[in-house]
């Protein structure tokens, strides 16, 4: 493998890895506040991309993306309020089945609204053939957009959780829900907020990725299972480890193309998921003692 090809694979891996990391962070935000895995996480990414593609016919690109993110956040809030808010201590099995049902419904609605054709947003800067040269390899400027926006999101989220009172309240709920309620935090609103946040970051990631990966109504489940792989790889609930794990999975996938047929590319992520689940269910960076206390 030449150095140039190596870098090409590396950048492709980082691009996809950023997307996986964002989906995984979406999983983690909801998992931390509710203890459930939202199987409809991939659908938020699809909705963001699809809504933006539709809106771009009426408004300029930045406004279309902004509106798409806002609309997806509203959808996330509505889903939480209608389907989850009023359930009293539902079992894990019940929540799994409800969120799977939600992902099917969102997908089917998307199929009837947008049909099954593949769409994409235009490139933010330049077009398909424009490229920038980094370290001697040519990459699309969109890759820089993806990596930039995703890193910005991670930094913004960490600042939000660390320094704003709302973010601190959410973390309090994650750490000890009952104690948080006793301190006067409205835990139910924090759950709604966690759905809004993870819908928002999913939608934004869906928009910036759209020119590269395209947007289709059934892209959700594939993304969800990869996002989940990344979340597990990093240790469920740990958002920063998710970034590292996301990049790792993206790079592994990108390099695997040179070894296994393209058709099996998705199977690699799932095989990694199964191996991790069997060997280190607390993740590469997590501690097994902490994981033992959690209810999966």
């Amino acid at each position: 493998m030449t150095i140039e090809l190596f870098l090409q694979y590396l950048f492709a891996g980082i691009t996809y890895g950023s997307l996986y990391a964002i989906v995984a962070i979406g999983f983690n935000i909801i998992y931390n506040t509710t203890g459930i895995i939202n199987f409809a996480q991939g659908e938020f990414v699809m909705l963001g991309g699809m809504i933006a593609v539709t809106l771009i016919n009426f408004v300029p690109l930045p406004i279309a993306i902004f509106l798409a993110v806002i609309l997806t956040m509203i959808i996330g809030a509505l889903i939480e309020m209608i389907f989850i808010r009023w359930l009293e201590s539902p079992s894990v099995l019940r929540m799994i089945i409800i969120t799977i049902g939600l992902s099917i419904i969102i997908r089917e609605v998307a199929l009837h609204v947008w049909d099954e054709s593949v769409r994409s947003l235009p490139y933010f800067v330049g077009n398909e053939i424009s490229s920038v040269t980094i370290l001697g390899t040519n990459i699309s400027p969109q890759v820089l957009w993806v990596v930039g926006v995703c890193s910005l999101m991670v930094v913004a989220l960490s600042l939000f959780f660390k320094f704003t009172s709302l973010g601190r309240e959410m973390r309090a709920c994650a750490a000890n829900r009952r104690a948080a309620i006793l301190c006067g935090i409205n835990a139910k609103n924090m759950v709604t907020l966690s759905f809004v946040l993870s819908a928002g970051i999913g939608a934004l990631a869906g928009c910036v990725m759209s020119p590269i990966t395209y947007t289709q109504y059934d892209m959700g489940p594939g993304l969800a299972i990869k996002g989940f792989t990344v979340a597990i790889l990093g240790g469920l609930g740990n958002s920063f480890a998710a970034v590292a794990a996301g990049l790792l999975l993206g790079i592994i996938e990108a390099f695997s193309i040179s070894v296994v047929p393209l058709a099996f590319q998705d199977a690699i992520a799932i095989t990694i998921l199964l191996i991790i689940l069997f060997i280190r269910p607390h993740g590469l960076f997590g501690s097994s003692e902490a994981a033992g206390l959690k209810e999966f």
Binding site: I36, I37, F83, L87, S91, V92, L93, R94, I96, I97, I98, I100, G101, L102, S103, I104, I105, R107, E108, V109, H112, P221, I225, F228, I232, P261, A263, F264, D266, A267, I270, T271, L273, L274, L277, F278, P281, E295, F296
Partner: protein, 371 residues
């Protein structure tokens, strides 16, 4: 007494099966039998999954994978022509021991293929072995992890059949020959053997139900319910929980594989959609609607929903209907439609008793109600 109580519903089922067949005969609607036969095979998967989910409390979103393993292996072995490999030592050995048969296809070409009985057995054995191998580590997981691991398994099977030329890639395998189970009894999709096939399918379901019912009401069944209640407590009472879970998993996988083999021969083809995630989710949905730990509920709901779906009643909203069913049932009636206790409430009202929670209703709320 208990024995008799268990036999009555089975007798009812058999009477009902015969009555439906006679009804279609005299009303001139025998075309319904095709969908009823297919529903029977899907129901076989559902009742197997019902014992795993409802009684042992282990979710599996990968059962379409086992269905596909059964169907695809049987289809591939009985369809691919081995005539060119006739001089191969292994093939000629198989031929010598009667594993292979010579037959003619639709165009009069001679084919050398594996005998359906051997293909069937091999397919089921493969599914059972795979279930054994992955069941060990997978069933150590709980909750989300278990759901994701089984989902992952289902997706891997889907990807394998989609990417392997031997399994026909996106086209699947067609022209699967019919299967002579016994001399004179042929498993296939022909019009003239429709009634026989209806009885083969439903006979299999009755047989499966009897096995599962005996299992549930035995020592094993009690062990499974205790695992569902609390795995730690069951373990402390000396129940070998991991072994029971594994055996149930393998049994339900075998049910799915058998259904896959038979339905593939009946339809004469199998496609990758049979291995898809939506199929697995659909089986879970039906078990949930039936009330999780409710074998008869699962069977009734499976026949109704599969029949309506196969008749095309839901149109393009087929998947959406199953998604909506999942959500509504899980939100409002987590014990299934039959678990709402409508019949008990009606009985109460009829007998003039006061409304309220009776002991038997409370029992059904815990999901441990016995059939």
């Amino acid at each position: 007494m208990d024995q008799v109580r268990r036999i009555i519903p089975v007798v009812f089922l058999i009477v009902f099966i015969v009555a439906v067949q006679l009804a279609t005969k005299y009303t001139g609607t025998p075309f319904y039998l095709t969908q009823l036969t297919m529903s029977a095979y899907y129901s076989l998967v559902v009742v197997g999954l019902c014992v795993l989910m409802g009684y042992a409390g282990q979710i599996s979103i990968g059962h379409a994978g086992f269905f596909a393993i059964g169907g695809y292996i049987s289809a591939a072995l009985t369809t691919h022509n081995l005539l060119e490999l006739k001089d191969n030592a292994f093939v000629s050995l198989l031929n010598k021991y009667g594993v292979l048969v010579l037959r003619e296809d639709l165009y009069g070409e001679t084919l050398l293929t594996v005998h359906p009985w051997y293909a069937c057995l091999l397919a089921i054995m493969t599914a059972v072995i795979i279930a054994f191998v992955i069941g060990g580590p997978v069933l150590k997981l709980k909750g989300h992890y278990l759901a994701m691991a089984t989902l992952g398994f289902g997706i891997i099977i889907y990807q394998i059949v989609m990417a392997t030329e031997y399994f026909g890639e996106a086209d699947g395998i067609s022209e699967v020959p019919s299967f002579n189970i016994l001399p004179g009894i042929e498993l296939g999709g022909g019009f003239e053997i429709r009634v026989v096939n209806y009885y083969i399918a439903w006979g299999l379901v009755v047989f499966g139900i009897i096995i599962l019912q005996n299992l549930i009401h035995s020592r094993v069944g009690r062990a499974l319910r205790s695992i569902h209640g609390s795995e730690e407590a069951a373990n402390a009472m000396g129940i070998h929980t991991s072994r029971y879970k594994l055996y149930t998993f393998v049994l339900s996988a075998a049910f799915a594989a058998i259904a896959g083999v038979f339905l593939t021969h009946y339809n004469g083809s199998i496609g990758p959609s049979e291995a898809g995630v939506m199929k697995s989710v659909r089986y879970v949905a039906i078990v949930a609607v039936g009330g999780m730990a409710h074998l008869w509920g699962a069977l009734i709901m499976s026949v109704i929903l599969n029949f309506l779906s196969l008749r095309g009643v839901f149109g393009t909203y087929d998947d959406a209907v199953f998604g909506a069913i999942l959500i509504v049932i899980m939100l409002f009636a987590p014990e299934g439609i039959l678990g709402l206790g409508i019949f008990q409430k009606l009985k109460k009202i009829m007998s003039g008793g006061v409304s309220g929670k009776t002991p038997e209703l409370q029992e059904s709320k815990t999901g441990q109600k016995q059939v």
